[in-house]
């Protein structure tokens, strides 16, 4: 996709810099001239939204870290100090806490968009795997961040999740002691989680750069899943078209964010986390944050601890091999009638797992968790490998331009290939 650079420095200083460090050229080629498929829908705006959410989390996080005290006896009070006595501290803290949820809402939409339109398929496997790595890093970061206020859910969430590693034979106990910095979740755990919670977002940032780089090598997928054939016809320049569209979607998303942040800031949290951590009192139900619930349900679906842990990690690991599990040559589910229905069944499965993750692990809930865990893996391990073999896809459009411009010319049934070659007017 990234063809020869079309950047022409005009000012003297720009020419001077271009000969030494062509950073403006990189920016120009990546965010101005970069060709974007002309048929992208609004689901493609979430990449930009995620970038801004990461920046927002880092900015609010750095400010919070200035006022926060990572110590078992002071953490809870220092967070409340931020809420009460730091100027606009409540804003920073609610923005950071709700921002984490918004980050996950956006990333889930982004991932499901990729699943639906087959964005993981060749030649975008590395791009996709980098995305899975970002997702994993995000989960680690969010988990450790939730521990920092040192409320009851922080403490017990940390206890449950770190204890998972004890399931591994031989090395398990050693790993857990290493994570804790002792023999139970305590001050050393809090301080190392704080340190790592500060570090990981910058690692995410690094992988995001690789993710964007890989994207700019292969170019974006699009709703038809048909590759760009002629750059002039099938694409439009990033600026102004994608820029303004992304900006609109971003502001709309921030309005959604603001609604939660200002009017229902504790809706996505858990009341128990306003109770200071107490190792002597276990909460009635220990539940993780909403974005971990589907994985939590998978974990608890298996009666065996090690089995549960392995299955939970497998639920994410399966995403890494997804590009090779899906045997269909057709990317977009829009042209795969059977796969599309499976996709929606899979989406419902994930919601059900989320709901089950919030229920106590007893009675009917365990049976249901096992059922939906099976369905979760069936989508990747049975549906996608087999459907590619016997599904008859619908007829694909000849090109992106045809799918967009063809509709204009003829009505239904018209031979789209006959549409006049469109000369996109992209001089602006």
């Amino acid at each position: 996709m990234s063809g020869p650079s079309s950047y022409v420095p005009k000012l003297g200083i720009a020419k001077w810099l271009d000969a030494r460090l062509p950073l403006p050229r990189l920016m120009y080629d990546s965010f101005v001239a970069y060709p974007v498929p002309r048929n992208l829908n609004y689901f493609w705006t979430f990449g930009g939204i995620l970038m801004l959410m990461l920046v927002s989390q880092i900015l609010t996080g750095v400010i919070l870290a200035m006022h926060y005290t990572p110590h078992a006896t002071l953490a809870f009070t220092s967070v409340e100090g931020i809420m009460r006595d730091v100027e606009y501290g409540w804003l920073m803290r609610y923005m950071h806490a709700n921002g984490a949820s918004m980050f996950f809402i956006a990333v889930y939409i982004h991932i499901f968009r990729g699943l639906y339109y087959g964005s993981y398929k060749a030649p975008r496997e590395v791009l996709w795997i980098l995305g899975v790595i970002i997702f994993l890093l995000m989960m680690a970061t969010a988990f450790m961040g939730y521990v920092l206020p040192w409320g009851q859910m922080s403490f017990w969430g940390a206890t449950v999740i770190t204890n998972l590693f004890s399931a591994f034979p031989i090395v398990g106990e050693t790993i857990v002691t290493f994570l804790w910095g002792g023999y139970s979740v305590d001050n050393p755990t809090l301080t190392r989680f704080f340190s790592l919670h500060f570090l990981l977002p910058f690692m995410i940032f690094g992988v995001v750069i690789l993710h964007v780089w890989a994207l700019h090598v292969t170019g974006q997928n699009n709703p038809t899943g048909v590759e760009v054939k002629a750059v002039a016809k099938d694409t439009i320049p990033f600026t102004p078209y994608a820029t303004i569209k992304d900006a609109f979607a971003l502001v709309l998303f921030f309005a959604f964010f603001a609604y939660f942040l200002f009017f229902i800031p504790n809706y996505l949290g858990h009341a128990d986390n306003y109770i200071p951590a107490n190792p002597a009192v276990t909460p009635a139900h220990i539940v993780p944050e909403w974005y971990f619930l589907p994985f939590y349900a998978i974990l608890r679906a298996v009666p065996d601890k090690l089995g549960g842990v392995l299955l939970m990690f497998a639920a994410i690991a399966v995403l890494v091999v997804l590009p090779w599990l899906d045997t269909s040559k057709v990317r977009s589910m829009s042209y795969r009638p059977l796969a599309r229905q499976c996709f929606w069944a899979f989406a419902v499965t994930c919601v059900m797992l989320g709901w089950l993750g919030s229920r106590p692990a007893e009675g009917i809930y365990v049976t249901l968790s096992q059922l939906f865990t099976a369905l979760y893996f069936a989508y990747f391990l049975i549906a996608l490998p087999l459907l590619g073999l016997f599904e008859t896809p619908k007829k694909l459009p000849g090109s992106i331009a045809e799918s967009v411009l063809g509709k204009m010319k003829g009505g239904s049934g018209a031979v789209v290939g006959a549409a006049a070659p469109a000369e996109p007017n992209t001089k602006g």
Binding site: A258, F263, Y274, K407
Partner: protein, 295 residues
């Protein structure tokens, strides 16, 4: 194809089964307490504000009743005059603080001494430590109330929990605490309570250490011009007032948050609207988005 249809039908059947099975299974409110009734709070919704007079009455109830056992370690007297709270005058706050003897020091001789409270002092602790508190309360530890209104909630269930996003219901904590304060009953027949145990309809598990503390006429409220209190001096009213006070102490900047929120939200919507039309204008340069393009 048929196989596929069958499996889809099976999936649908599983979904229906899942929902009905789950709705038949025993309810999981946090351990068996009755769901509290919703109270009409002045601070609910996007335009909600605290009622100053109510917060001032609530502080009086806290001070005369609750503070005997419950501390509020995050509160300072100066908070009582800050904007968005009870908004006592600074002179009133100085007088309220001066009512308490605060231990300070060490002085230049290295000795601790007592002095009258100042607005910068924290609310005094009822007990020097947890052990003393337990010893005085039959083994129970009276909780700190600073953020209690946010630290309690009850399960809303489906579909209420989704509707709460739109109705902006955030008062699960206050509703629960208010119900709890007035939820004392005689235990059902056959239930023997141990000394120091009380029966409360709303408590998870129904058994609570704290006895009923609010009784009609117990706290004297400031009188209006006609010589009577503008609100009834009843246990119900005391409960509502003290819970409003506790909600403010849990979320002292709520009014500022909602007021900024309204401005930010409207700004973002307007900005999004402008961007939408700009986007349409820019995209109309493309043939498929040109005005008159057939779709």
């Amino acid at each position: 194809m048929t196989l596929f249809r069958t499996s889809l039908a099976a999936f649908a059947a599983i979904m229906i089964g899942a929902f009905s099975a789950a709705s038949l299974s025993p309810a999981h409110a946090a351990g068996g307490g009755t769901k509290p009734p919703a109270h009409d709070w002045s601070f609910d919704g996007p335009f909600g504000t605290f009622d100053r007079a109510q917060l001032q009455r609530g502080y009086k109830v806290y001070r005369e009743v609750c503070s005997a056992c419950h501390g509020m370690s995050l509160m300072r007297f100066r908070n009582l005059s800050q904007k968005g709270g009870p908004e006592f005058t600074e002179a009133q706050v100085r007088a309220l603080a001066a009512d308490f003897k605060i231990s300070d020091g060490p002085n230049e001789q290295g000795e601790m001494f007592e002095r009258p409270g100042r607005p910068s002092d924290g609310f005094p602790k009822p007990f020097p430590n947890e052990q003393a508190a337990r010893a005085a309360n039959g083994g129970a530890y009276p909780l700190d109330l600073s953020v209690i209104a946010k630290a309690r909630n009850y399960e809303r269930g489906f579909p209420l929990f989704l509707l709460d996003i739109i109705t902006q219901y955030q008062e699960g904590g206050p509703d629960y605490v208010k119900a709890l304060l007035t939820g004392y009953e005689d235990p059902p027949k056959g239930v023997e309570l141990l000394p120091g145990q009380n029966w409360n309809k709303y408590m998870a598990g129904n058994i609570i250490g704290m006895p009923n503390m609010l009784n009609d006429g117990q706290v004297e409220y400031p009188k209006g011009p006609d010589g009577k209190s503008p609100v009834p001096e009843t246990a119900k009213q005391y409960a509502a007032d003290v819970v409003a006070f506790l909600m403010w102490s849990a979320e002292p900047h709520m009014e500022q948050r909602k007021s900024i929120g309204r401005q930010v939200f409207i700004f973002l919507l307007l900005f999004a609207g402008l961007l939408y039309f700009t986007k349409k204008r820019i995209w109309s340069r493309l043939p498929e988005h040109a005005p008159g393009a057939a779709h």
